[in-house]
């Protein structure tokens, strides 16, 4: 069934597609070609600026210790062994495994739970619904600092500090931003199809699980990708909950931060920053792949968030 009822979809298409005639300048004339080339000068210039740090990182990851800082985009000494040695130097495989496990669990939980809650707000009528949803929206505005310490104490009392449970556990309860996003999507589904299903004897859970859930795959993808990225990049939670534990239990961001310190000469290291560069590249690569496959969802999600009534 292809019902395009996504609340976000129109934004996607307008942001993702080029309009056929942006300017009224004719394209085929000499003037049109010059105009187009002129437009590209700043676009290409900024592209180089944005790409440069990636190129620098890629090059540095192939350099021997003494040359990491030489800014050469083509390594003077090409040392691909860095990619073999890094696994012995740092427990990078553990870090990647931990981060992957946490990110998949966090994203799956938050996607499913947020959409259950969102369906509750979108479809059912019950006393206090407006107030409750208002509170959902209000919590999005809350600076994280206020709940940082008490949340730590809650996990500490449960004996879970030092495990990775605090890095995904709260996702069991859904998350305000995603509830908001999913609810917008559900509101776009025609109510009649649910009413008809009710008449056919489908239960309330069936409405969600057998109808709304399969219909809203695009918005699930948005939520999943957003949370996967947020979890994968999360440094602070690692610092709070995992820092005191063994190195093997670190996430990638925490591990790289500790490796930067470990190799620093002020801490008795030898400046083996090439391994940090390899690790930095390996933590970035999955995000770039994720973006390559899910670009339209990311852009759509951001644009939806930015849209105002």
């Amino acid at each position: 069934m292809t019902v395009d009822t996504s609340a976000a979809a129109p934004t996607l298409s307008s942001a993702g597609r080029e309009k056929p005639s942006m300017t009224r300048k004719p394209r085929r004339t000499a003037g049109g070609i010059v105009w187009q080339v002129l437009q590209w000068v700043p676009l290409v210039g900024f592209s180089l600026l944005f790409i440069y740090p990636f190129a620098w990182l890629l090059a540095a990851s192939f350099k021997p210790r003494g040359q990491v800082f030489d800014n050469a985009l083509i390594p003077r000494t090409f040392q691909p062994e860095n990619y073999a040695q890094v696994w012995n130097e740092l427990p990078l495989l553990n870090w990647l495994g931990n981060s992957l496990f946490i990110a998949i669990l966090a994203a799956t939980l938050v996607t499913v739970m947020s959409s259950i809650v969102a369906f509750g707000f979108a479809y059912f009528k019950f006393p206090g619904r407006g107030i409750l949803f208002g509170i959902v929206l209000a919590t999005m505005m809350l600076p994280g600092a206020v709940t940082l310490v008490p949340q730590f104490l809650i996990w500490n009392n449960l004996g879970l500090v030092g495990t990775n449970v605090p890095l995904w556990g709260m996702n069991l309860f859904g998350s305000a931003f995603y509830i908001f996003l999913q609810r917008q999507f559900f509101l776009g589904l025609p109510r009649e199809i649910f009413e008809a299903a009710r008449v056919d004897g489908v239960g309330y859970w069936g409405l969600f699980w057998r109808m709304a859930f399969p219909l809203s795959v695009p918005s699930f993808v948005i939520v999943f990708l957003f949370e996967f990225q947020a979890s994968w990049n999360n440094l602070q939670a690692g610092l709070i909950y995992l820092n005191a534990g063994s190195e093997e239990g670190y996430t990638v961001p925490l591990g790289i931060a500790s490796a930067m310190t470990k190799y620093s000469p002020t801490n008795g290291g030898h400046g083996d920053y090439q391994f940090v560069m390899v690790a930095a590249l390996l933590v970035t690569l999955p995000m770039i792949l994720l973006f390559a496959f899910g670009q339209r969802y990311f852009v759509e999600g951001v644009a939806t968030a930015g849209r105002k009534g």
């Binding site: 009528k125 929206l137 500490n156 990049n233 644009a303």
Partner: protein, 327 residues
């Protein structure tokens, strides 16, 4: 994470409008179906439980802790009256970090807005290839802060960093970015500008929604590009503009990753005072010194400050933002 959350905040107003217009037929009767209501409560229960424990409960807990001396070893709290708040005022590092953070926000937010809008307008005007360039511009947004910091840590190095080498090539003596107190915050601004594409995407979506005919009419009337920008573009995107300012300000006031990674990761090396951000100091007090009472008081101070700044922005914003519904 916080950024994403905050992003939707300003949308809230819009969402409410939308719901009220989407009210379904048959909604007039305020009589609830009992079974449906119970099912509804069950559906939203996970969030309500989480809210009661991890948000409302945590906030009350935080307030209590801020008025006590908390001992992590024994898990006990002694009442402390206002002493944590008094210590807050007396600790010069609190005011210093607050000053640094506000200074950073004032520097960063306008530059982020201008740069993001510039990029969005370039993409919007491009006749060909805008999808390709948008992808390129978005990549830094995907890069984990830890990777960005690892690279910029070396790019910004005052002696051998690529940025100063580049400046030297055009005859400019670059500053000691990471050591000179005057250049610490601009360094972090540069890092955040590199990852400004989230804001850019929001502007781009807004620019695409400006009706073309407005420009055509203005052009016929003899309005130049500058006049068209200020009289058409800016008013037409004022909603998303306001939203971006609000979100970027809240994010700037909570800056943690960049400052921590560049300056406070290494506990041996002393960091310049100019790099002490409020969120970093709060983190140190809470999770390195375990001064939970003091850290909670700090959290409430920044909470109040962020609320006040946001409220001012909302008030000012309401005077300038042009909503389509007002037409």
């Amino acid at each position: 994470m916080t950024l994403t959350k905050d992003r939707a905040v300003a949308d809230a107003a819009g969402a409410d409008e939308r719901t009220s217009t989407e009210k379904r037929p048959g909604h007039k009767a305020k009589k609830y179906n009992r079974k449906e209501a119970i099912a509804g409560y069950l559906f939203v229960a996970p969030w309500v439980i989480g809210f009661l424990i991890f948000t409302l409960g945590a906030m009350i807990y935080s307030l209590v802790i801020s008025f006590s001396h908390y001992q992590l070893a024994t898990n006990t709290a002694r009442p402390a009256g206002f002493s944590n708040y008094e210590a807050l005022v007396q600790d010069p590092k609190v005011m210093m970090s607050l000053g640094n953070t506000l200074y950073f926000a004032i520097l960063a937010v306008p530059l982020q807005i201008i740069f993001a809008l510039l990029l969005a307008m370039l993409l919007n005007n491009a006749t060909k290839g805008s999808a390709f360039f948008r992808t390129v511009y978005y990549l830094p947004k995907m890069t984990p802060a830890v990777a960005t910091a690892a690279v910029f840590f070396l790019l910004l190095n005052g002696n051998q960093g690529a940025i100063n080498k580049g400046l030297a090539a055009i005859g400019i003596q670059g500053p000691q970015w990471l050591l000179d107190p005057d250049w610490v915050k601009p360094s972090i601004v540069i890092m955040t500008l590199w990852g400004v594409s989230g804001t850019m995407v929001i502007f781009l979506a807004a620019l695409k929604n400006v009706p073309r005919d407005l420009y055509e009419v203005a052009e016929l009337d003899g309005a130049g590009p500058v006049r068209r920008f200020f009289s058409i573009t800016l008013p037409m995107i004022s909603g998303p503009m306001f939203f971006n300012v609000l979100v970027l300000t809240i994010a700037a006031l909570q800056t943690f990753d960049e400052a921590y990674l560049l300056f406070y990761r290494d506990t041996v090396q002393a960091a310049p005072d100019a790099s002490l951000f409020y969120a970093v100091y709060l983190f140190q007090q809470a999770f390195r010194q375990f001064n939970f009472g003091f850290a909670s008081a700090m959290a409430w101070l920044i909470f109040v400050i962020i609320m006040i700044i946001s409220l001012i922005q909302v008030r000012v914003g309401n005077r300038f933002v042009y909503y389509e519904s007002e037409r």
